[in-house]
């Protein structure tokens, strides 16, 4: 038996109810999220690469958004909280690896894929690896179907 007063019991029930409501809200949010299109943030200083990748992904069931440098990508990511980040490595200012490390810290659920025209040989990637940050790295050029397949595998 619980040894509580009626007013305490009232407060207790209220707390349980509000917890249940919060839980239900979270569940509902998760359901709508899983039913809606996955969001992907594409970052590349080569506008044409970013824009065409966005079109490809939008046609294939994603909701894609573009950024052309690391800083604006961070700002967009903070608002959008994307499911995926697809970023170039060599970019002016903040490079793709710095961006990926920042996003990994702020949004641990975002799945990160890097792509580069100089795959495997960039000092930046090997330095990040030495610091314990390993990211998927795709080599450009990548066929759109291969990219989609890769993203599906990460879902």
């Amino acid at each position: 038996m619980l040894d509580i007063t009626p007013s305490e019991a009232y407060l207790f029930a209220d707390e349980i109810a509000s917890n249940l409501i919060a839980l239900e809200k979270r569940r509902a949010r998760r359901n709508t999220r899983s039913m809606s299109k996955p969001t992907i943030l594409i970052v590349d200083d080569q506008h044409l690469v970013a824009d065409t990748t966005k079109e490809v992904l939008n046609r294939s069931g994603f909701k894609a958004v573009c950024a052309y440098n690391g800083r604006s990508a961070l700002e967009i990511a903070a608002k959008l909280r994307p499911d995926y980040l697809l970023s170039d490595v060599l970019m002016p200012g903040m490079n793709g690896v710095e961006l990926a490390i920042a996003i990994q810290k702020e949004l641990p659920e975002t799945r990160i894929v890097l792509f580069s025209g100089q795959a495997g040989i960039t000092d930046i990637v090997s330095k990040a690896k030495a610091d314990g940050h390993t990211f998927d790295l795709l080599a450009k050029p990548i066929h759109p179907e291969k990219l989609l397949e890769h993203l599906k595998q990460k879902a």
């Binding site: 200083d45 044409l48 690469v49 065409t52 079109e55 490079n95 792509f115 450009k140 050029p141 759109p144």
Partner: protein, 374 residues
């Protein structure tokens, strides 16, 4: 000369001379003396091993027998300097053995002065440097391969980006609902392919050539090198400021000059990871006739104590990332073209940066030789 443990006596001079002769005879370097007409007066054992002549067959002969015919003019220059009482230190040249084989030597020539102060001839101390020259050639070749590798990685980046866009565009065209939109994707793809072929033409073409000399306008070469590094330049936030005054074409090896310029530009880019201005100036030079090029960056600079060593082989300020032979090869190639290269640098914050000055003559000895061969 001072001697230890030798008692003074009437035969001291004789014993001293015997000792000196023994030193000369047992030296590993060739020691030869000649008079002011270039006639060989003495010949040690090492000279015999190096040139293949016994002392008896060469003493009294002209020194020209040891010099390849096309280098006979060197002897006039050497004799003129000796008559003026000057010394020639570590002069690197080619000599010829009795069997006709040519080899590289480094020779130091000093005037021989008698007790009356008259110049009576010269002593030549020569060391064979064929091995060292071979090592240097191998090193130049390996740096050439490394430079090619670095350039290939940069070119790969410049080519793979447009190719990535082309793949996307073709996919979008293929999956387009209307012919018009498909056409528009294909048009953009064509423009990107044009960019790829431009980069390939500007860069990969150099590796097909064999170092043959041809007329070159330096500003074109600079533009080509900048095309290759455009991606890196943009990525680092560097502004390029070119000032090309009217300058004549020079006769040189295009591939080698591309290597020279790309090594320097790559160094500047590495030094300016946080941006800045890369200023490249080219102008004509009149005496001697040629072209002067100045490449100035606002990078981190080279410390004063390191400046003297930047052209030394295996010296690097880039830690694990540098091979330390880039600038050394640049200097070898510039000098091979009869040119000169110097570097100045400062490291004070806000005012730091490095400037490389290169002079290249209109034509060089190397160009003339290469054209004769061709």
């Amino acid at each position: 000369m001072q001697l230890k443990n030798m008692e003074n006596g009437p035969d001291l001079t004789d014993r001293l001379q015997l000792l000196l002769a023994a030193i000369v005879e047992s030296s590993d370097d060739s020691i030869i003396s000649k008079d002011l007409n270039g006639i060989i007066m003495s010949w040690n054992a090492a000279a015999g091993r190096m040139f293949g002549y016994e002392a008896v067959e060469i003493i009294g002969q002209s020194i020209l027998r040891l010099i390849p015919e096309e280098l006979h003019h060197e002897e006039d220059m050497i004799l003129a300097k000796l008559r003026a009482g000057q010394r020639i230190d570590h002069y690197e040249t080619i000599r010829i053995r009795k069997n006709g084989e040519r080899f590289d030597i480094s020779v130091t020539i000093s005037p021989l002065i008698d007790s009356g102060g008259n110049i009576i001839g010269a002593s030549k101390v020569a060391r064979e440097i064929t091995e060292r020259k071979l090592m240097e050639q191998k090193l130049i070749l390996s740096e050439k391969l490394a430079a090619t590798g670095r350039m290939a990685a940069t070119i790969a980046h410049e080519i793979n980006n447009p190719l990535d866009a082309v793949m996307n565009l073709m996919y979008l065209a293929r999956t387009s609902k209307t012919l018009n939109s498909a056409k528009s994707y294909i048009q953009t793809a064509e423009q990107e392919l044009e960019r790829v072929s431009h980069i390939a033409r500007q860069t990969l073409g150099y590796y097909r050539e064999n170092g043959a000399h041809s007329p070159i306008l330096l500003q074109d070469l600079v533009q080509d090198v900048l095309t290759v590094y455009q991606g890196k330049i943009t990525a680092a936030g560097i502004t390029v400021d070119c000032e090309f005054a009217d300058h004549p074409a020079i006769t040189a090896s295009k591939g080698e000059l591309v290597q020279v310029l790309s090594n320097i530009v790559a160094n500047s880019i590495d030094a300016m990871s946080h941006g800045g201005v890369l200023r490249i100036q080219i102008e004509r030079a009149d005496s001697p006739a040629g072209v002067r090029i100045e490449i100035k960056d606002q990078g981190i600079g080279v410390r004063q104590e390191d400046i003297a060593r930047v052209f030394d082989p295996f010296f690097t300020t880039k830690g694990q990332l540098g091979t330390g032979i880039g600038l050394w090869v640049v200097k070898q190639l510039v000098e091979k073209h009869g040119g000169e290269i110097t570097l100045s640098s400062r490291t004070e914050p806000e005012r730091s940066g490095t400037t490389v000055f290169i002079f290249l003559p209109l034509t060089s000895q190397a160009a003339t030789e290469s054209n004769n061969v061709n």
